[in-house]
């Protein structure tokens, strides 16, 4: 019996080794192709795209070797890479390229065949292409995916396909945005795809919209939002929102008074208060203000922090 088990095990292990070895060879060949042919082709595609963008009109250019394996993905990555690092591009020529070569449909097919983070990466690529509503509607089938990253990338596809619906789409998103997800939305905003009007976002009762609004205020240094921020800090909002608003005020280096932030400070845990003290000391807040904000027990910590930024005269 043991002998038979050994034979079965040996056969299975040999098969697994062969499969892994074949996969390793394919990966090595692919890596070699990537550093050779693909690098040259990507450079060529980018050049053709940029020339087409500069000319602005005319027939869609021909891309060499587009029927070869992996070339269509290269073109999609080049278009997505270009739109990802630039803003204010004329999307009409890019849209024509995407439509002519069917990049969006082809990517949707690839996305269907993958799963998990690979699917999320496909959707991210799709979100960076100039899209129409039909493609976004087809991508919406993954909105109920078990993978959180996939669900969020579906939202990004919908946002880039129809920015006018941004507020509704973000408000209806079923899960709270994580910090990194907010970061991705802000990159989309900086590409000029979403409106920067922070007011409706910060005043909205929806948690997700508020978080995005607060991030806009912090990233663009909008000091006029101080009133809104103080209201959130002083109000009964969720602890994380109040904390975010308080940090935003500190990032803007606005003067803080015990009257406005006292309640929020009391609600914070000692560790959170210490983290805030470190943040404020690094931002250059005066020891006098820190002394007024924090209790006598925490003053020693506060003062030693501020001292550590002062030049020693001894």
């Amino acid at each position: 019996m043991t002998e038979r088990l050994l034979i079965v095990y040996t056969a299975l292990a040999a098969l697994a080794t062969a499969v892994l070895f074949a996969a390793l060879c394919v990966a090595k060949l692919r890596a070699r192709r990537r550093s050779g042919r693909d690098a040259v082709l990507r450079s060529k595609y980018l050049r053709i795209l940029m020339l087409y963008l500069l000319s602005g009109e005319g027939p869609v250019p021909r891309f060499p070797l587009i029927r070869r394996a992996g070339a269509r993905r290269l073109l999609a990555e080049t278009v997505a890479g270009l739109t990802g690092v630039t803003c204010g591009l004329d999307v009409a020529p890019l849209r024509r390229v995407v439509a002519e070569y069917g990049l969006d449909r082809w990517l949707l097919g690839c996305i269907r065949r993958t799963s998990g983070c690979r699917r999320a990466r496909g959707l991210m690529l799709l979100a960076r292409l100039p899209l129409d509503g039909a493609v976004a509607a087809r991508a919406a089938r993954y909105a109920r995916s078990r993978n959180r990253r996939v669900r969020f990338q579906v939202l990004m596809v919908q946002l880039s396909a129809d920015p006018s619906m941004a507020l509704r789409l973000m408000a209806e998103y079923p899960a709270p945005f994580s910090a990194c997800e907010v970061g991705e939305i802000l990159i989309l905003l900086r590409r000029g795809m979403l409106p920067i009007a922070y007011g409706p976002l910060v005043e909205s009762p929806c948690r997700n919209l508020r978080v995005v609004g607060l991030s806009i205020v912090r990233q663009f240094g909008i000091e006029e939002a101080e009133r809104h921020l103080l209201r959130i800090v002083d109000g009964d909002e969720a602890p994380e929102l109040g904390r975010e608003a308080l940090y935003t005020l500190c990032a803007l280096r606005r003067p803080l008074t015990r009257r406005h932030v006292g309640r929020r400070l009391t609600a914070m845990s000692p560790a959170e208060r210490k983290a805030l003290m470190r943040y404020m000391a690094a931002e250059g807040y005066s020891p006098g203000l820190l002394r007024r904000l924090f209790d006598a027990r925490e003053r020693t910590y506060c003062e030693s922090l501020v001292q550590s930024y002062k030049r020693s005269l001894a």
Binding site: A179, C180, A275
Partner: protein, 302 residues
């Protein structure tokens, strides 16, 4: 005896394949996080990372540690100015360090600190230099943690270099969870890396008190990808030796299978499977930097 050997071979094979799957999944996550660039432009949720160094004197290593583009990031280097006179002087001169006041915050028990230095130049203000009497790495790391500004601490030893994008990857992992829910993010691949929350360290009482032990499983994450590496430490086996070894394994497998010695065949095929899985993991785990990470380190910690 044969049954025990079979179980051992099967366990080794399952272990190697599971690790490979984890590394492949981590690769996809890493590629997704790198493509999203969410951590590159702004510090999501104000997440900050302080790198704590003990015994790091090499200018090249400090350059590597300082070169991260992440905004809420600092490097706290602890040196003994009396033991490492030349290195300390060179570092202070290069980064134009000035002496600032040092008063213990009382969070951790720190002794032997002579002085604290910060750079006069704004672009190097992310470097903090602590002059301390050396009495062990744990004491140095406690002193560094006591002056660190940020909420997450990454201890780094001499010769450990950050891989490109490692800080952004850590931030992406922390930023994908609600704030304050993770206390430990670690990676066993390449050089082992441990990112620890300051709160957990203070609760444990310092690096000498085995701070990782008290962290509940729900507040831990393991990244199956290398974050730190030691360049040039890997020995490179000539290709023909590898081919010879592979041929020997294949011959041993063929001969033992032909002769009906199935235990020997299972042993040789298990060795081949583990080797192939390690090669695949190395290829996927470090991508284009695969030569930077010695293959032998992949399985070193298992």
């Amino acid at each position: 005896m044969k049954l025990v050997l079979l179980l051992f071979f099967a366990a080794a094979a399952v272990y190697a394949c599971t690790l490979l799957l984890l590394v492949l999944r981590a690769r996809e996550r890493r590629l997704l996080a790198a493509a999203a660039r969410a951590a590159y432009s702004d510090a999501p949720d104000g997440i900050g990372i302080s790198v704590l160094c003990s015994g790091v004197t090499s200018p090249a290593q400090l350059e590597n540690l300082l070169s991260s583009e992440y905004s809420r990031y600092e490097v706290v280097a602890v040196l003994d100015s009396r033991r490492q006179v030349a290195e300390f002087g060179a570092l202070a001169a290069r980064y134009r360090m000035i002496r600032v006041e040092w008063v213990s915050t009382g969070e951790l028990e720190v002794t032997g600190v002579r002085a604290l230095g910060r750079s006069r130049k704004r672009c190097f203000r992310r470097l903090v230099l602590v002059d301390r009497v050396f009495d062990g790495a744990a004491g140095d790391l406690d002193a560094a943690a006591a002056v660190a500004t940020y909420d997450y601490l990454l201890p780094v030893g001499a010769g450990q270099y950050l891989l490109p994008g490692a800080v952004e990857r850590l931030v992406a992992e922390l930023g994908s969870e609600p704030p304050g829910t993770l206390d430990l993010v670690r990676s066993h691949l390449g050089e082992p890396a441990v990112l620890l929350s300051r709160e957990a360290l203070v609760a444990a009482g310092g690096f000498g008190m085995r701070p990782l032990r008290g962290i509940p499983r729900s507040r831990r994450r393991i990244l199956w990808e290398p974050l730190l590496a030691r360049p040039g430490s890997g020995w490179r086996v000539p290709r023909r030796w590898l081919l010879l070894l592979a041929a020997l394994l294949a011959a041993a497998f063929g001969l033992s299978a032909a002769a009906g010695w199935w235990t020997a065949a299972a042993a040789s095929v298990t060795a081949a499977l583990v080797w192939t899985a390690a090669a695949c993991a190395s290829q996927a785990g470090s991508g284009r930097l695969r030569h930077f990470i010695p293959l032998r380190r992949i399985f070193r910690y298992y």
